[in-house]
Each structure stands twice: as structure tokens, then as C-alpha cells.
Symmetry: D2
Subunit: 224 residues, 4 copies
């Protein structure tokens, strides 16, 4: 009889252990979950994008719009990132609040942001009261000439984003050998009379910008 | 006998389960560890700082050094962050590589970075071959006059950091009611003949810069 | 009789000489006139100002307007220079065309020119078709904080002017001993919560800007 | 006899008038002289150039030197203007003082002036004690990428010149119909891996820069 009694006790103890094991496993899953969510290699969850990047632009003749679309292509290369492309005047408070990344683009009007765009984005903080703290930003521009102000315009967009409490970054490059690595301040296309349209290397720059901002935004969004 | 045989089998199975449980537990600890390390609310680990911020400066008369020390005070406010203050010429390759955050500061020489500092930092990528990708950067400057170039110098430092593939940010502010929130591009002190020395609000700006960069660097360092 | 005949001939010749003398004198006055007009030491002509400087500003709370008036005081210090102070939206095509100097001023909105001002000045070239070639320009700004973007805004105004084919300059300074001489990019006032209002040294900077632009405009206007 | 007496008196008076006429003529020539010297249409005086433009550059691989030579070609298009091309480290105090115009050029090192060049030009005011007041300045740069900082470098050179009390300008453009006219901030060439070498439109930009600075310098040098 002692054998059965011992077996019974063992069986009872085993149930407790199984029970503990189950609790332990559930607990493990719960705790481990954010780890997987933060893992860049994991598959995106089906229902909702984890990183939202808003590409907001102003465009007159379509060059800047073309760049905006290339930026969005770059965003889409990053696992779990989704890009939305909108004209600045169409961005709602909800669009801006939902964004983890915000990439602004415009043509160059007299070496700076077009007035028609600045009046819109000046209101994002003041009227719409959007809090941009710790969102990740980037900038792209188009403009004629090598020294016509398209870079000053890109810097102006970056400073606008910093002034709105954001973190900013630019596209990454390296040479074929991988010996030389560098970054740029943003992405621009020369679109004046001397070099009409947007070239392949300029679209490549726009894609790199989108990809970088999405990556940094995903990293900033990982569990804190 | 059947009782003992059954008990023996149970005992054997229990060992396997215990063993599995142990493996499971160890696995759980391993996987869960980064979650805790990434939790801003958790206590810092005793042996090693989690976020290292290097405050590298150039100073002639001590004003910029004073700002550098205030920046370091701001870094120290962030749980788990440790600041090191060094003159740019004293920064080794190891210092630069170990840093999660890099905050550069200098006086304004003819509206820009002093030549004596630029020759040093130009070599960080080219000669020392430091890879700054995804480190978090910020900038502070000193200079005479309200429009003498100290802000252009701060922007120049930010662009230097972006060009070195870093992510950049600036200090955060809000008014007393919390209605109005904004950021700045960096921190500066007016130190010319009209306003000698570094004032309290300027040291406060430096502390805010240090705190912000440490916070963003910690967030960027959380598990990926 | 021969005496009278000789006297008559002499008289006749004298008339010719007097006539020649008169022509010569008138010619001399005509040719010499621009020399005097171009001479900085000469007295201003009574009927018309020789150098017109337009101070065009955007102001919300009056700080930038106060700076604009100090800029005009600086212009008035220059012999032969007259300043007109106008809000940018009140500047007509005639105002802009008549100006030898154009000094732009504004508050800092998110580290740059307010959108409400940029929409107005974007049209000066495009819609009003004003040709600004070789006019002389300068810039002044107001803004909160030491690194909030008021200098980037001043630079943005300068680049706007350069893009409109103007020549630009900034205020001049020297220390009391005259050993040290320097210039600044423009004039700014810190007007945020930390330092409300426009201080004396900032009004002095505005006056220096007005004086400098008037002097350079007068020099550019001297006979070519 | 009265006839001869009268004739004698007339003759005497005529001598006085002739004498006065001579004085008047000499005076006229003296006063009129600067007018002719200031006339852009007049021929250059044979012995000495009226406008000296110093093109001072830093170059590693020769691209910036090539741009410097094109700038000098542009200067030479202006009647009475003479260009000298020198490496910054070869510019003497005499070179700098003699220059009516000073055009600076450099490659882009991490979005700004190379440290090796900045250490040299920082000393022009401090050690060499050159007074640059009212000299006319311009800037040109080379650099890889569309947004790698070559424009920020050009702006940095302009601000350096403004800080040294100079007046600055950029190259002028107009479209073929002459409907559209604009200026740029300076002249730049894209010289990175994507677009090696200096192109024709970039050399054209350099020539325009040289021509513009020479013209403004000549106008600033006209009689005061």
C-alpha cells in the first residue's frame, strides 16, 4: 500500500508542479512578449502597423511629390513600418499625433520654406496643439541650382522639427567597399532649368531618407 | 509491486519535468532580462552604467568649460546615465566608440567652429575611423553678441554630427502652466563684452541639453 | 580811329571769351555735380533724399516694431539717408522699387520666418515683379531663448535678399580701445519668457544695423 | 587817344579773364577727374588695376582649385578688375589688405569649412590684424551629394566675411527670355562619387560669382 500512497503523493505534487509550470509559462510569455515586439527580425503583427511615418509635403509642379513617394518607398522597406503620404494642408491633428516619424518636404522659395507651407505648419503646434515630443523627423527639398538654397531649406525643416521637440536624422551612405561611411542632412533634388526633373540618384536619396527615419522611429518606439 | 513501479515512473517523469522547468526558468530569465534593462523605471545595475554620454568641448577662457560641466550635470539627472567631460583633443578613439551620446561644445570664432577644434574633430572619422552611426548628439556654444554667429555654430555642430550618421536633439522647455511646450536647437551662452560670463538661465539651458541627450540615448539603446 | 577799331575788336573777342567762359562754367557744374552728390561729407540736397532705406517688418506683440524703429533711427544718422518703416503687407511695388536699401525684420516662428510674412514677401518677386538687383539689404529678428532660432531666421532673411540679387551687410562694432573690430550678421533681441522686452544693447544693435545699411547703400549709389 | 587807352584797359582786363579761365579750366579738370574714374564705361588706366579681387581657396584633390580658376575668369570679364588666385595659406597680410574683393572657396568637410582652412583664416583678423571693412566678399564650395553640406559651407564662408565687416553678394542669373531673374548664395560643384569632377554649369556658376563680386567691388570703390 505504501507504494500507492507514495505514488498518490507524487501524483499530487506533480499536479502542483504542472500548475506552477503553467503559471510560469504564461508569465514567461507575458514578460517575453515585448521582447519579441521589439525584435526587428520578427514579423509585423497583422492588424496594426507598429511604426507610422507621415510624409507631409508641399508641391507645385510635382517634383516634390515625386520625392515624397520615393521617401514612402524607403519607409516601406523597414519591417513593421507604414508610410502615409499627404499634402501638408491635408494633415489632420490625428494624422500628426498618430505618427511616430514625420518627414517634411518642399520646394525652395527664395532659399527657404514656401510661405504657403509655413503658414500651415506654424499652426500645428499653436492651433492644433500637437505634441511632437520624441517623434523622429527628417527633411527633403527640391530646388534649382547647386547653391540656390535647397539645403538651407532642408536645414530649416530640421530646425522646425527640433523646435517642436523632435529628434532628427538623415539618410545613410557608404561606398561600395564599405570603407567609407557617411550621412547627409536630408535629401534634395536639383530641379531648375539646368537639371529638370528628379534623377535616379535623387530618388535613391529620398528612399534612404525614408528608410532611416523609419528605422530610428522603430528603435525609439521599442519598449522603454 | 505495481504501486512502486508506478511511483518509480512518476518519480522519473517528475525529474524530467523538473529538468524542463529549470530549463524553462533559465530561458525565461534570459529572455526577460533585456526587458528589465530597457525599463526606464528600473534601478541601474550596480557594476556598469547603461548610458554613457561624452561631453567634448573646446574652451579658451573657461566659459565653454563651465557650460560643459552644466551639460554633464544634466546628464547625471537621468537614471543610469553617466557623463564624461573632456577637451576634444583629449578624446581617444575608445572614448568616442564607447559613447552612446556625444555632446559637442565650443566658442564662436567668426560665426563658426574654431579652426583649432575643427582640425581635431575632422580626424575622428577619417583618421580614427570611429563609426558614430545611431549615437545621439547635441550641441552647445558660447559667443559675444545676440547675432554674432553662436547659433550658426551650434547648427554647424549638429550638421557635423548628422554627417557622422548620428541622430540629434535639443533641450526641452515648457512654461509654468504647461500650456506651451517647445524645444531649442542646442544651448548657448552670450559671453561677449556686453554680457560677460555665463548666466543662470544659460547654465539651466546646458543642463536641459545634457538631460535630453541622455534620455534619448537611453531610449535608443533599449532592446532592439 | 585805329584805336577804336582795335578796341571794338577786342570787345567783340572778349564777348566770345565771356560766352566760352560761361559755357565752360556751366559744363563744369554739370560734370562736377555727381562728384558732390557722391561725396559723403557734402550737405544733403534740400528737395530730395539721396538714399532711401525701407524697413519692412512683421510684428505681433510690438517687440519687432520697436526694433524696426530703432533701425530707422540708425538710418537717420547717415547724412542724406531717409528711412521709411512699414509692415511687410503695407509695402507697395513703388515702395520696394524706390528703396536703395531694404532691411527686413520679424519674430522667430519655429526657428524661421513666420509663414504669414513669408507668403507676403514670396510675392515681391513673383507677383509684383520687383527687381532688387544691387539694392543693399540687412536683417533683424526677435525671439525667445539664446538658441531658439532667431539667428537662423536672420540668416534666412539675408539669403532671401541674396536670392533676390541684393548685396547684404550687417552692423559694425569695435571695443572702446578700438583694438578689436568686428561685424555681426544682423541684429536680434531676446524677447521670450526669460528676458521679456527689448533691451538697450539690442536697440543699439538695431541702430547700428540701420546706420550700416544706409552707409553701404549710399556708397553703392555713388556715380558709376 | 581815348581809343588806345580804352583798348589798353580792355586788353588788360582780357588778360585777367584769360587767367581766370585757365584757373577755372584746371580746377574743372581736377574736380571732374574722379567722375571719369568712377565711370564704368571708361577705359582702365594703364599702370594700375582699379579693382583687385583675391580668390583664396583650400583644395585637396584639385576640384576646388578648378572652381577658383573659373571664379578668376569671371573677375577678368569686368573692365578694370584683376584677379589673384592663391591658396589660403599663401595669402599674406599685404594680399588681404590690397584686395577690394575677397572670394573664399573650399571643399566640404563634415558639412562645413575644413579645419585645416579655418585655422588659417581665423588668424587673418586676430594675428594679421587685417581690417576687412567694406571689402566685398563671395563664396564657393565643392562637395559630394545633393545635401551633404556644401551649401551650409558656402553660407559659413559668407558669415565669416560678414563677421569680418565685409559686404557679401552672390552670382546673378536670368532665364533666356529675361522674364525671370534671380541670384544664388554662392557657387558650388557636386564632386562626390555620384557626380565626379566639376561640370560646365558649375564652372559657369563660378564665373558668374567672380564677375558679380568684381562688379560690386568696383561700384563700392567709386569715389566717396
Amino acid at each position: 500500500m505504501a507504494g500507492w500512497v507514495y505514488a498518490y503523493r507524487l501524483e499530487h505534487r506533480m499536479k502542483s508542479i504542472r500548475c506552477l509550470l503553467l503559471v510560469c509559462f504564461v508569465l514567461h510569455l507575458t514578460l517575453a512578449a515585448p521582447v519579441r515586439a521589439g525584435d526587428p527580425a520578427s514579423a509585423p503583427t497583422s492588424d496594426a502597423p507598429r511604426v507610422r511615418v507621415l510624409v507631409a509635403y508641399h508641391s507645385l509642379r510635382g517634383n516634390t511629390r515625386q520625392m515624397a513617394e520615393a521617401v514612402a518607398e524607403g519607409v516601406a522597406k523597414v519591417d513593421g513600418a507604414v508610410a502615409t503620404v499627404k499634402r501638408v494642408e491635408d494633415c489632420t491633428k490625428e494624422d500628426l499625433q498618430a505618427a511616430d516619424g514625420l518627414i517634411l518636404g518642399c520646394p525652395t522659395y527664395f532659399a527657404n520654406i514656401p510661405g504657403a507651407m509655413k503658414v500651415v505648419i506654424d499652426d500645428w503646434n499653436w492651433k492644433l496643439k500637437v505634441d511632437f515630443t520624441d517623434k523622429v523627423g527628417g527633411a527633403f527639398t527640391t530646388g534649382g541650382g547647386q547653391t540656390g538654397g535647397k539645403e538651407h531649406t532642408a536645414i530649416s525643416l530640421l530646425l522646425f522639427l527640433l523646435n517642436n521637440r523632435m529628434v532628427v536624422a538623415g539618410p545613410l551612405y557608404e561606398d561600395e567597399e564599405g570603407d567609407d561611411k557617411w550621412g547627409e542632412l536630408g535629401s534634395s533634388a536639383m530641379t531648375g532649368p539646368l537639371d529638370p526633373g528628379v534623377g535616379n540618384s535623387e530618388l535613391d536619396a529620398a528612399r534612404r531618407l525614408g528608410e532611416r527615419i523609419a528605422r530610428v522611429a522603430r528603435r525609439m518606439k521599442s519598449p522603454r
